[in-house]
C-alpha cells in the first residue's frame, strides 16, 4: 500500500505540492485528476524518487522509502513522452527492466515475449522504435513499464499525446491490462472520461493539494467546494 504524508515541494518559490496526503491500497487503481499545472506530474516524480520533497514522507507498506534512491524502489513510471530508448528495438526496450532485475537471459526473453503479447506487439519485437506510430509507441512504453511487475505502477498522462479515437480505444486496453495484473496504480490525467473508466477511485488535485477523493459519481453528488463542483460539473 502506498501512503504519502504531507508532501511539500516548491519550485522557485512556487508551491507545486502543498501538503499532499494520498493512499493507494493494494490492487487499487487511483486516478489523480486535475487541470494542468495542479502539481500532478510533480506528485508522481516525488513518489518515484526523481524529485526530493521539501517536506513529508513516502511510505510503502508502512516502510519509509523517502530516502531510497529511485532505481531501488521498484516503482514503475510511464512518461507522457514515453521516453523510449532510441538505440534499442521494441523488444530491447521491453526487456530493459527485466535485465535490471538480474534475471537469467532465458527468463528475460520469456517474460519479454509475454509482455509483448499483452499489448499485441509480438510482430514488432525486432523493429527499431523510431518508425513507430504514436499508438504503437504508447503500447511499447506500457509493456516496458509493466514487464518487471513493479510494486506500484505510475502513469503520467499515458494517453495524452494521442488523438481522441485512439485514446478511447487504448483506455479500455490499459484498464484491462492493469486489472489483469492486479496492479496497484496511480494514473494521472486531466480527462474526466479517462479517469472514470480506468480508476476505482479518483483524487481531485488543485493547486498542489488533493481536494477530494471518491468515485466521480460521489464527488459529483457532494462536491467539497465550489471549485470542485465547477471542475467536475
Amino acid at each position: 500500500m502506498l501512503q504519502t504524508v504531507d508532501l511539500h515541494k516548491r519550485f522557485d518559490g512556487v508551491a507545486a505540492l502543498d501538503g499532499v496526503d494520498l493512499e493507494v491500497g493494494d490492487g487499487e487503481v487511483v486516478a489523480v485528476l486535475g487541470p494542468s499545472g495542479s502539481g500532478k506530474s510533480t506528485l508522481l516524480r516525488v513518489i518515484a524518487g526523481l524529485e526530493r520533497p521539501d517536506r513529508g514522507r513516502v511510505r510503502w507498506d508502512g516502510e519509509d522509502v523517502t530516502e531510497v534512491p529511485p532505481h531501488l524502489r521498484r516503482f514503475g513510471l510511464m512518461f507522457q513522452s514515453y521516453a523510449l530508448f532510441p538505440h534499442l528495438t521494441v523488444a530491447g526496450n521491453v526487456a530493459f527492466g527485466l535485465r535490471m532485475l538480474g534475471l537469467r537471459p532465458e527468463e528475460v526473453e520469456k517474460r519479454t515475449w509475454e509482455a509483448l503479447r499483452w499489448v499485441d506487439l509480438e510482430d514488432f519485437a525486432d523493429r527499431p522504435v523510431e518508425g513507430l506510430s504514436g499508438g504503437e509507441q504508447q503500447r511499447v512504453a506500457l509493456a516496458r513499464t509493466l514487464a518487471p511487475e513493479p510494486r506500484l505502477v505510475m502513469l503520467d498522462e499515458p494517453l495524452g499525446a494521442l488523438d481522441r479515437n485512439l485514446r478511447e480505444r487504448l483506455v479500455v486496453d490499459t484498464r484491462r491490462l492493469l486489472r489483469e495484473r492486479g496492479a496497484t496504480a496511480l494514473y494521472v490525467t486531466h480527462d474526466h472520461g479517462e479517469a472514470e473508466s480506468v480508476a476505482d477511485r479518483v483524487a481531485i488535485m488543485h493547486a498542489g493539494r488533493i481536494v477530494q477523493t471518491g468515485t466521480l459519481a460521489e464527488i459529483r453528488r457532494a462536491p467539497a467546494d465550489a471549485w470542485v463542483a465547477d471542475f467536475v460539473g
Binding site: 529511485p70 534499442l88 530493459f96 513499464t145
Partner: protein
Amino acid sequence: MYPVGRVLWLALAGEPGTAFARVLADPRMRGSAWFTLWQAGVSTALTLVAAFPLTWAVARFRFRGRQLVRAVVTVPFVLPTVVVGTAFVALGLDGSLAAILAAHVFYNLAVVVRTVGGLWARLDPDLVDSARALGASPWRAFRTVTLPLLRPAIAAASSIVFLFTFTSFGVVLILGNLRWRTIEVEIFHQAITFLRLPAAGALAVLQMVGVTAILVLYSRYQERRAVRVRLVAEEQTLRRPQGGRQRVAVAAAVVGTVGAVSVPLLGLLVESFANGGAGWRFLTEPGPLAVRPVEAIGNSLAFAGAATVMAVTVGTLSALVVSRGAGMLSRWFDVVLMLPLGTSAVTIGFGFLVALDRPVDLRATWILVPLAHALVAVPFVVRAAAPILRSVRGEVREAATMLGASPRRVFTEIDLPIVARAVAVGAGFAAAVSLGEFGATSFIVRPNTITIPTLIFRLLSRPGSVSFAAAMAMAVVLAALTAALIMAVDRVRAGEVGSF
C-alpha cells in the same frame, strides 16, 4: 575562425572598400556573381521537376525493390563533387552549361526524393480520399490538399539544393572550362591564377553574405510554418499500383530515373577502361607527376584518418553543446544543422593559404591538409551526431532509472551506446568528406602529398587520352572508397545493438 578572419581582413584592408568597389565594378566578377545566383535557381527548379516522378512513385506505392531504388538515387549525393564532374566529362559533355545543370540535378535528386518523399509517404491518405469524395479530380486533390501539406518539405529541400548549387565548386570548375564560373570558382581563379588576393577576399565575403542570407530566410520560414499535420506510418499509406495505367506510370518513373542516374556512373566506369586499361596502368607507374599516382590513395587515406580524429573530437563536443543547450542554441538547432551545406571550402582553403604563416608557418607541414579537411568536416559531424545525441533527453535517463538502472548502469546502457553511435556516424561522414574534399585542398596541397581529388583534377587538365582514362580510373577508385564508407555508416545508423 582565424583563417576566415584573415580573409575578411584581406578584403577590408587598404583603402576602405576599394577591394569591394573593384570587384563590384568588374564586369567579369559581376558576371560570375550573377551566374552563381541564376544557375542555383535554375538547378533547384530543374531538380524539383526531375525528381517529381520518382518522388511520387516512391512515396505512394509499394513495389519490389523500392528500398533499393531509394538507395540507388542516393548514390550520387554521397559521391565527391570531383567524381560527379568527372562522370559528366566521361560522357563528353564538359564545357557546356547543360552539363553543369545536369550534374547539379544528378547530384541533388536524392535530396528531393528523400525529403519530400519522406513526408509525402506519411501523409494520411484519408485527406486526399476525402477531397476526392467531395468531388475533386485527382489533379485538383493533389493541387489543393497534397501540395500545400508538402510545402515545408519542398521548401526545405529547395533551400538545401539551392545552397549546394550556390556554393558549387568542383562540378563547375571541372565542367565549366573557365567559361562558366560560380563565385567559388572565381575566388579560386583570382587567388591561384591571378594572385589577386584582395579581390578573392572580397568575393569570399560576398559569398558568405549570400550563404548567410539563405540560411536566415530558411530559418524564418521554418519558424513561420504553423500547420501541424498528423502523420501516419508509411506502411499504412503505401499501396500497390492499381490498373495498367498506374503500373506503367510507376514503372516509367522508376526505370527512367534510375536509368538516367546510372548513365554517368556507367560512363565513368567504361571510360576508365578505354585504351585497353592504359589508365589503370598509368596509376601504378612512375609518371610525369611528382609521385606515382597510386600514392595519392595512401595520402588521402592518411589525411582522412587524421582529419577524422580531429573532426570527431571537435564535432562531437559541439554536438553535445548544441543538443543539450537551452534557449538560443536550441532555437538555432535547425540552422546549425544547415551550416555544412553552406560552408565554403574554397574560403577555408584560401584562408589557410593567407593566414597560417604565423606564429609557426604551418603551410609547410603535412598537418595543414587534414586540418582544413577537419574544419570542413566538423559541421557534418555535428549534423550527423546532434540529432542522435538529442534523442537522449533527461526523461530517457529517468525512464532507465525507474526500470531499476543504477546511475552507473544508466551511463553504460543508455549514454555510452548512444554517444558511441553518434561518434561512429560522425566519423564515417568526416572520413567521407575528407576523402572527397577538393575546394580547400586545391589551395594548400603540395605536389608530393597530392590527394585523390586533386590528382583527378591535375590528370583532367593534362592533355592526352591516357591521363584522361587515368582520371576516370582514379574517380572510380574514389567513388568506390566513398560508397564503402557510406554503406558502413548506414549499417551503424540502422543497426541495433542486439535485440535483447
